[in-house]
Each structure stands twice: as C-alpha cells, then as structure tokens.
Symmetry: D2
Subunit: 413 residues, 4 copies
C-alpha cells in the first residue's frame, strides 16, 4: 500500500449509509484504510464526522477508490479550486472531463463553493467566470451534444463536492429512503392513498406534478381518470409518446383503444384501422390543438391538456405510426423538451412506460419525488433503482391504479 | 401409407376449431387423410359432419394419430363397447388403461352410451356393471391412488367418446372460447364489472362460487373485501393454504400482515414474529373454529367462513409454518377435499395462487367457468391454458381487484 | 338481418384456420351466415372452396364484418377494380383510405390483379397507372408521412385481396404456424440447434440475416459470440440503438459493460463514467468508422460490421446518452433506414430489445422468418403475436443463447 | 421519551450495515437514541464497538425497538440468563416464546453462553439442562409441531444473542454480501463459471452440495447434464417433488417430457398420457429403486441417485398426479426430511422451483452458500432476499444454465 490520500465525510453519514459504503468501496477495490478521526453524532439530530486515510497499491487503484468515494459525498482534505479546460469543438468535451451524478453538487471556484445549476447525471459541468453574464461566476450542467467550442468544462474531481441525499430524521413513510427493492406485497389501496396525499401536499405547496404516461394507461381504461386529474389541476404536465396521444384521441373519436371498446369490452375487430385513421384525421386537422379547437376532439387527456393549458411533450420513437404532427421526432430535441419538464417538476408519476420514464428519469436530480407504477416488476425496479432519495415503486395494474388515485384525490377536495 | 382407419366428427366442428385441429394432427404426425364425406352446417345453428379416412405408414403412427383425434372428439366408425380389465392391485391400473381428458365423456357399455360421472383429467374410468349398485351400469373417474384391486377399468380408446366444448352461438363476451393468450391490455374496471356480473348470474341460479385464494390477497390489503363477499353470500367456498389462513388471522389479531400494518403501512418490523405467534395462538385454541367461538378471532375471511358456515379447505404444503391445526397436511387427503369443492363449483375465482389454483384446476371439468387473477402473466397463462371453455384471465393487482369487485357486487344488491 | 353480401374463401382454409375465423367473426359481430357452397379438399394437397352469404341487421354492421373477413383473405364475389383517390396534400391521405395488413396483397386495376410491392402493415397503397414509370401499372405501400399530394391512394376494400399465410403441408417443426403462445417449457439447447439450422439454410440460399440487438446482448457477455457471427458472415445486418453500440465499444475500450468487467465480474464501480467517456471518445474521433480506422476500436460487434462491411443502422431514442455521431436521431429517418433493412431480410433474429424489435417488426411482411429471444415472456409474446407465419419465440437468457448459437453455427462449418 | 435502555453492538458493525440499521430502526419506530460510546475500528481488520442508549415514549414502543435491535445483533447491557418456561402441551409453546432468526445464536444459561444447535428461523429454542443427556446443557431449535409437553422453551429476548453475518474483509466476488437486488445484467457465462468454481471448492473441502430441482429442469432439456453432475459426485443430494421425478423418469421411459421429444422437438402429442403412464408403471414396480433394479429405468437423474446412492427427498404437493410411491405425501414428514438435507448442506443450488426452494430455504441458517436460478426475476428475488450472507441470484434459462455449468465442472476434472 504505497500511495495514500485523506478524505473527509460529514453529515448523517452512518444512518444514510455513507460510512458503510465508504468502507465497502475501499475493501471491494482492494484498498486499505485507517480512520484518523471519527466523531459520532450523539443523537439523531447531530451529524457525524470522519477523516479517513485511504491507501492503495498504486496510483490508478487509489484514483478508482477516490472516484467512488467522491460519488458518495467524500471530499479530499485541503480542497483546491476545480480544474477547467475549454471544449476543443462543438459537442467535444476536454479529456478527463467531470461527468456528473444526479446529486446536488458544488464546485469550488475562486476559493468559493458555488452550486451547480440544473444538476442531472452524465453531464459535463460548464463554468462561466465572474462577470460573464450576470455578475458572479456560475456553473451548470450541459449534456454532451450541447457543448460548444470554448465552453469551460470541469475536469477531474478536485474542487467538486457531491451531496447525496440523507436519511430523513423521522419515520420515512411510504417514500422509502434510497430503497432498491420493490415489494408487491404491500396493501395496494393504502399505498395509493399515500400517493394521493403526496400529490395533494405537492399542490398545496404550489408544486409541479408531472405525469409520464404510456399507452397502457388508455388501453387499461384509465384515460378518463387521468383526464379528470388534468382538468382539476392535479397534473401540471404530461410527458408521453405518439402512441399514448393517439390511443387517447382514438378513444375519443371511435370509443375504442387498440380496437376494443373500453366500456363494453366488445371488440369491433376493425380496431387497428381506428388507430391509423385517428392519426390521419389529426394530420388532416393540422395537429392536436387545431383538432380540439375544431371540435374534432371533444374529451380525453390531450383535450384537457389543450383546454386547460397544461404543458405536454410528445416525444417520437422508431415504433411510432404516423406520427401525429405534434410529435417531436428528433430524439435530441425531444430530450431537451423533456429536460425542461423534468427540471420544473417537484413530483413525477411514471405510469406504465419504461422508455419515457427512463428519458424523464435521466433528467431528474435525486431530490425529486418519484412514483413508479407498472405491472412488470422489472420495470419498476429499473426505474426506482436510480438513486432517488424519495421514491415509491408499485407493481400494480395501471387500469385500477389511476381510477383509485383519482377517486382519492378528487374526493378529498 | 399402408394402414388406415375411418373416423367421424360431428357438431360445430368448423367454428369450434376441431376440423382445423384434426387436419393439423394428421399432418403433424406424418399421416395422410382423405375426406370421405363433408356436410357443412348451412347456418350458425346447424351442425356439420365429417367422415375422414386417416392413413399412416405403420400401425404405431396410426394409433398416435387416432389417440389425438380421439381427444378432440373424433370417434371411430362402427363403435363397439368399451374394453375393460380388472385392476390387479390397489392403486395399480391395468395395462393400457384409458386416461381421461377434462371434457365430458361417454362410454359405450352393453351397447349403450353412458356418461362418465365426475369427469376430471388424468383419471382412470371405473365401470360398475348393471345391478351392482343402483340398477344401471355406471362409469366414473378415479385417480390412480384411489383404485382398488378388482375395479373394472376402461382400457384403450374404443367405445369412449370425448365431447370438447363447442363455441357458443353468440358473441362470446369476456369469457373467451378456448383462448390461450391473456392480454393485459384490456380495460381493467370494465372487465371486473363483467366478473361481477358473472358472479351475480351464478348466484341468481343458485350456483356455487368457489374462491381459491393465496396469501397475497391478505398482504395486498384485499382481505376485508373478500370477507365481505363471503359474509354476503357471494362466495360459497374457500380453498386456500396455511399461509392464507394465518395471514388472515394475523391481520385480525395484530393488525398486520407479514409485519406491515395494512392500514397505515407502518412497519412495526417485529411482524414476522406475529406470523408465528398467530399460529401458536390458534394451536393453543385448538383450531380456527374454537378460536372464533372463544372470541379470539373477531373478523376476517376465516371468521366469516366459520360464522356463516361457508365451506373451507386448508391444504398443507412443505413451505408452511406451524401449521394451523385445520391444515390438512397429507397431500392426497387434501386433494380429496379439494376435489369435492371443485365438483360442487359452478364458477371458480383463482386469486393470486399458482399452487392451489393448479390443484383445484386439476379437478375441474372443462365446462366450469373460471376466472384467474394474478400479477404474473405467466401464472395466468398457465392456469387459463388448460382447456376450459369459459375462462377469463386477468393480469392485475389483487389488492385493487378484490375491493373493486366487491364494490360492484355489493352495490348491485 | 336485412342486408347481405356474398364472399368467397379459397385455399387451405380449414387447416389454416380461416373458416373457423370467418364463422367466428360473423358470430362475434352479431351477423349471420349461410353457406352457399362448400367444396372440401379431399386430401392434404387439395384446396377447399367456400361461398358464404353474410347477413347483418344494418349496413354498418355488415361493413364491419366484411372488413374483418377481408383481412383474413375472404374476397367479395364479382370483384371490381380498386377505387382510388388522390392525396389532397403531403402526408394527408384521402378519406376512407385502405390501411394495409402485413400479408401479401393484390389489387385489381384495369381488370388485372397486381401485387402490392413492399407490403407492410398500416400503410396506404399508392397506385402508379400504366405508363407512368416502367410500363405497367404498379402498386406499393407508403407510410403516412411519405404520402405526397396527388398520390393515387387505394380506398375502401373493393378490388383488394389479402393472402394470409397458409399452414405448411408437412409437420411444422419449431417454426410454428401462426402460434400465439410461447412456452418456456421447451428444451432450450434443442431449440437453439433449430435456430442454428435455420440460419445455415438461409445463408445456403444466399438469404439475408438481420439481427436486432439490445444492450443486454453486451451486458450479458454475448458480445464476442455475436461479433463472431458477424465476422464469419452469418449476420448480414445489425439493427440497434445508441445503447447497444456504446456498450459494445465500451467493452472494447475499457473491458467493461455498464461498469462491470465482463470476464472477471469485478466491478470497477467507476463504470458508468466509462459509458459517457466512450461516447465522448467516439464523438472526438468523428464516428464509429473513423474510430475503427484510427485503431481506437479494435474488436466487438461494431468493429466487425465496419471491417467486414456489414450494414448497420443505429436508431436514436429519447433515453440515449450522447448520442454517438452515427445515431440517426430523427425517428422518421431512422424508420426509413430500418425499413430498408427489414425489406432486405429473409430471416430476423430479435435479441433482447422490445423497442427496436417492434420497429423492425412493423416493417416486415408476414412471410419473413422471425426468431424472438428475450428473458421476459411478455416481450416475446408481444413480438411473436403479430401474424408472422413462421416465428420462433424463446424465453431464455441472451447471455447463454448467443454463445450456444454461435457454437452450433460455427462448429457446423 | 420516558423509558430507556442501553444496548451494545460489536464487530464490523459499520461496514456490515448494523449501525445504519440500528439508527434506522430507532428512527422508524419513533424512538430516540444517544450514543454513549463509539470506538471505531481503525483499520479494516479491527472491530468497532458502540454503546447506545435507546429512548422511547412508552414501554411497548421501547420493546418493539429492542426486539428489532436484538434481531440485528444488538445485546442488552448486563446480560442475564435466558428465561425459560415448560411447554404446556404437545405442539403448544409457552406464552412469549422466543422465535428464532436464521442467524447463528447463543443463549446464556447458568452464566455461560452456549450455541443454539441447528439454527433455523421461526423455531422455538428448547434447552436441555446440564446432565440431561450428554453432560452439559444444550440448546437447539424445534419447529412448533415438534414441541412436546414439558420442553423447556426460551421466552423473551433476554440472555439471547444473535450474530448476523458480517461483511467479508476482502472483495466479495459474485457471492454478494446480503445483497437484495438481482440483476439480470451480468455476464451469464462468467457467472456460471463462478458457480462452477464454488461447487468445486465445496467438494474439494468434502462439503455437501444439495440441488433443489423443479420439473422445468427436465422440460428444458437439462436433465442429462444434471444426471452427469450427480453421477460424477458433484451433487450429493436432490430435493424435489413428484413432478420432477416423474418427468425425469418419463424422459427415460418414453423419450418425452410433457409429451415433447426432448431431442427432436417433435411433439408426439400423446405426451400427457406418458406422464400418467409413467406414474402407473412405477407404482406397478413398487417405487423408483425397484424400478431401477428391475431395469425399467435405465438413465436420468433419479437413476443416477439410486445407482450412486445419492440421497433424495421427493416431497408431495396438492398438484401431484399419482403420486409415485416414493413421494412423501405428508407435509410435516416431508419438511422433516428436507430439514435433514438442509442441515447437511454446505452449498445449495435452487433450480427453477419456488415451492421446494422456499421449503429448503426455510431450514437453512444464514451461513449456507446459496445459488438461485430461475427465469422469473420475482422468484429469484424472493429466494435471495432471506438474509443469506452468501447468495448468488441468476435470472437465466435453466435449460442452458445446467448444461453450461456441467461443461465447466466436468471439463475442469
């Protein structure tokens, strides 16, 4: 163990799991450690402090260990300023650029710690020096494809501090702290009740509720309930795809979804034609908004979004039919639109769509409340397991979930 | 193609798929056929008739083809009486004994076609000659372990006629005809509405409704709703395991299921202890009925069963804790108890248990209405795919399904 | 039953299930029928013929029934020419345009039946009259977004004949005929053996094998085996996404996939950084081909594609990081590239990706051989259940499937 | 916070997660704490010590907190002897009996800490005082149904110490430490390689390998590979059900499993008959061993067990056909047989069966190595998530897993 470096951890580092992780990282990566100082918080409000000397056989191993420790919030002793380098060309980052986590992050610039704006994972951090725009130095994230030649990009990990979420000081309630596993063995209606409460609290604080919705919301008969929540103002924003919007409109135009009558379960069988006819009608009308204004569309989720001026993004995908004129077919443009929704959101409901939920989830900081609902446990696990501090995963039927949720929320009014 | 035999098919053999299957069987098994006569039913009420000469390269191939054709309802021309042989010992069937399907079946005995009683698949058919018990000859099924030395057991396939269910003459509704695939893309609440209607119709005709319930019914918070259905007389019989009964009683005794408070979702964490304590309390009381009578158990599904005299079977399994004194630990005895429930039932709801549902399903004729509900699509497919003529499969959350169903049924009163 | 129309069905209409479906459609949709003529094929090589009078209570019901019968191959008596109308604007189809199935289709134009080229479902049919391009009249499919003002588009269903695949005359082998259900209870290695045989047969006939691959192919350690198949010429074309390509290249650059060392299973933990660093390196190099030429990439699936000049399409999606410069970010452009791959393909292997498999599947006629492999049974069911005449669905682990397949194929050389 | 109690934790309590859990328990259950002493282990070999004062609003809350702390290994200061009470009747435990965890456990009796033998969860601890049998006092577990009147049973938690497994001091390798989540995104063949190594190591140390096998092992074509492992001595013991044994023997007798030819994939279609015929043949022969000795059975897993004298348990269930004479139909008797297998085992492979795996898992201490393999991720999660210290979960195809494993193990010979 020939190389060594000293790091510090501070905060609720025992009960938030950082100490356990720190020791685990060192052991997993074949390093060694010595605790130089450990001041335990005497009670649950007091924070703890640990100064840890980390040792490794070579510099490369030490760097790997320090990289991992950095990600869980450890900082190097005697911090110096962040190092920066200019981007050599558009979309090209400097070598050894710093790639962000989804946790709140600060950089040290000119001896000052400043917050990185719009934190989001797998981005570069761009620094604008003092005076450049509005007085002070700023730091914010940029995805790779948004980098411009000359952007000052943070490199390495010096002068960068990550703040993973800490365990709340009280009983956690249903929004578990950093829980990976999802149990389908929880009482469904009680849990939906808690989601309803969380929506109500978010709205009571003027928060923004974003719903990410897949086509199964419509097939499963939950479209009316979601439309009610949009109309009544419990949903501020919808992030969906061409399929969701088309099925929603098909249901309004023909009373079917995927060709099945949603009320009677009778299968007119010519249903698939309805799908492609719906798209063709909306293309003819010039888009969803003109189709609502012309009276062609008279109800449904998209109708309520247009009528009540809720924000919506319809992101394209390679499996789309049509698509509708409202669909943003370019993936990078669509991501940018989704990114704005995600940054606005205080609470996100991900309903029965893996693709759109991952796209939204990629843009969320770890501090946003997330509820994931899907019939497939693997989908819920994949979505929840991204380091959100407050997340509920439910393996349930979207066709009963949304109506039950809407009942709870609207009955409480 | 040196050997040949002629078979007949009669009934709604085109739209029930028998003709398609018959041709497929011959081709799959490397045989050949010649249609000697084909009288198509002119309209949807008329039946069709087909006489088919089947050819094969050798006797063994022909036998395989005829066996398969037999199972879908084809009969040999010029039928003769069933062949029988006495069982050589208890539990030992004669060589080449006939193994039943789950379709209504007749045997030809003394020149007369008589119905096989209690039809159930993978059984032997035992014949009691005229005069033996109550006058006429009788035929009924026996599972292998019930065979007694000297029982007259049907062998081969001559003189045996199978009657697979035919497609109903009208639009099928949600109980699809012989449908294999299960879609989770159907409107959930509309489908639950149809299940509610089917229960009401069954009860209106004094039918018997059997519920097969897994422990997830309780964990998911659906216990109260099921207890309501039992109390109000919509469920006649419960078939479950030691786990279901214990969780139901734990919920009444401690307010928890698997240690989680079903209302508040608070996790007292000492929950697992509740499970084993529940069993120990019921052992101490001498069983569920005495525990209800002593006032120890004051609510829940088992309580309603005892109080309202609904039949219940608690079948043991190797994963049981305890078990409760009411649990039938011997698998053969438990099967016999389940068999009685299954034979009584006009409609069966299989709720979130593969093991008990398969056990019940094994004893059902193909004419019983079946509803299968599980969050796991593979479970639903496996249960539905057993040749029931009228089956609904739903991939949904049992924790919202049962309460929604109970609301529909009880609101209709 | 006041309105009536006569249709004809011809071919192997019993064993291919068309007669059963036809009767089922009429009954499901509340119609009635009378069989006017039925000539059954006497043996398995002879085709059957049915003339069926269909009745309904009103014109709309009759139209629905006829629409469904049309889709399974029934034709109206006394056919007339297809009706056409010009597209009123770009991307706008005429009212009541005909939306295609994925089955081979003919239209009757100027009294002649001509094949519709590039058949693919949910498209419009565009007709070029005689003399317009190369002599004779032509008909081909266009997706909605490709329609140009003035295109002559087929409307209604008159003069259009659909030819669903018929059951092969021999034992089907593993490529089942129109089978919906997927069993995971088949012997895995025997089935992989059959897939290997099908690839060898396709290549022996100079056929084109298209592989649709998801990132799990790389994570699960199957990248080398797929690269072998590409190099040795058993795979002509790769259809994938930015994730697949990035993971494949990450594995070559850093020896990891999602940060896990694929050989040692050791988790360097800084793996996620590798992912975004890989993208940044390829952006710097100017794309995959320059990165291969510069020697930056020295192995893997993409390397073999570039080196051996195999066609590849990298289609973008909203969950992409980066993306790589090779990624087609516009969904419509990407679909067009995928469409070309799909039309070239004689056999398609869909490996562990729902999104890209649906996109490819949307462009395939029902006559292309398809093999779908996924660990999730719901994915396999959804992909297989699209009316392909020859499809194998396997619920298995892609990480053992591809190496076993490659062993079989390469050992046979 | 009016009541208080002091507990101690000692060992690798930070990196094994006990401190994090301890603080979490107190906060989740609305208690409070004060750290009285905390001595951190300076390096990775040194243990830590924590003395913690726990406070709660009332005695009942405090008891709940102490109960949970007890389960993770905390002990009360100033320990006293265990309290005991005699069982009032057969199968009836005293009130407030102590219900075990699956972790190594000691009790303090006559001032001495003695190990509890055969530790297994949800059992009572029975104490035999000094002199009763072989000199010293003994303590061992008993399941509820084995309790005899007068047994001295431990009550409450005083004088009982639980020792949850600690994190190994080195990089964990594939047998993760207490990992809940199961990823299907690991390289399959590399992971199977590691399982092979673990089997070889176990056998090199004269350890016992128990395989729990479901019928899918046979359906999926993996029977020969498992038979090889049994024959070559890598599997000491098989725990299975009537279905597994019957399918294995059917394959030997008729070449089919569930009616499908495992080699050719041809479907003789009369397969189901083979299943019931197999049972009837073995009943006639008097059981598996006589059937092997008579030459009726000439290969397969059961054949190798009989021939090479490997222990096997065939546990009955309510879904069994037959059953075979070797099947233990009583669940309690079957559990006792399984318990013996489980106690002998050093390493357990659970292959594609939830029921039998749970039954075996219930009897395992947390120190036994476990490998769970299933195509269904929910099954793997449920099995792994039971507190085993060393467990591998793999979501893969049993039909490729077993042959690949056997190749690795047998090639290494």
């Amino acid at each position: 163990m020939s190389v060594t470096r000293t790091v510090e951890l501070e905060g609720h580092i025992i009960d938030s799991g950082m100490m356990q992780q720190a020791f685990g990282i060192v052991m997993d990566l074949d390093g060694d450690f010595e605790v130089e100082q450990f001041d335990v918080g005497k009670d649950k409000e007091s924070t703890s402090y640990c100064r840890l000397q980390v040792m490794a056989a070579d510099q490369s191993t030490l760097q790997s260990i320090l990289h991992e420790l950095h990600q869980i919030g450890a900082t190097l002793m005697d911090p110096v300023d962040v190092t920066v380098a200019p981007a050599p060309a558009d979309q090209v980052v400097p070598n050894r650029f710093y790639s962000t986590t989804n946790h709140p992050t600060k950089i040290r610039y000119d001896g000052q710690w400043i917050d990185v704006e719009n934190i989001e994972m797998d981005c570069a951090i761009v620094i604008e020096p003092a005076g450049s725009v509005d007085g002070g130095p700023r730091a914010y994230t940029k995805v790779l494809n948004a980098i411009k030649e000359g952007d000052l990009v943070a490199t390495d990990e010096t002068g960068i501090r990550v703040q993973p979420p800490e365990r709340p000081r009280d009983a956690g309630g249903p929004f578990g702290f950093m829980q990976g596993g999802i149990s389908s063995e929880r009482p469904s209606e009680s849990l939906i009740r808690q989601v309803a409460n969380a929506i109500e609290e978010t709205k009571a604080q003027d928060g923004n509720v974003l719903v990410v919705a897949g086509p199964a919301v419509i097939h499963s008969g939950a479209g009316d309930a979601l439309a009610d929540l949009v109309r009544e103002g419990y949903v501020d924003s919808i992030s969906a795809g061409n399929g969701f919007a088309t099925h929603d409109i098909e249901r309004n135009l023909y009373g079917t979804s995927l060709g099945m009558d949603v009320e009677t379960l009778e299968h007119p069988r010519k249903g698939h034609k309805h799908h492609i006819y719906t798209i063709s009608e909306i293309i003819r009308a010039g888009g969803i908004q003109p189709a609502v204004e012309d009276g062609l569309i008279s109800g449904g989720v998209m109708y309520e979004c247009v009528t009540h001026d809720r924000d919506y993004v319809i992101a394209g995908s390679i499996r789309d039919d049509g698509p509708l004129p409202d669909t943003i077919t370019d993936a990078v443009e669509a991501q940018n639109a989704i990114r704005e929704q995600a940054h606005e959101a205080d609470m996100v409901l991900m309903l029965a769509t893996l693709l759109h939920s991952v796209a939204v989830g990629n843009c969320l900081p770890s501090t946003t409340k997330v509820v994931c609902v899907d019939i497939n446990p693997a989908t819920v696990t994949q979505l929840i397991d991204r380091g959100s501090a407050q997340a509920i995963g439910m393996v349930t039927d979207i066709g009963t979930f949304v109506p039950t949720l809407a009942d709870f929320v609207l009955d409480d009014e």
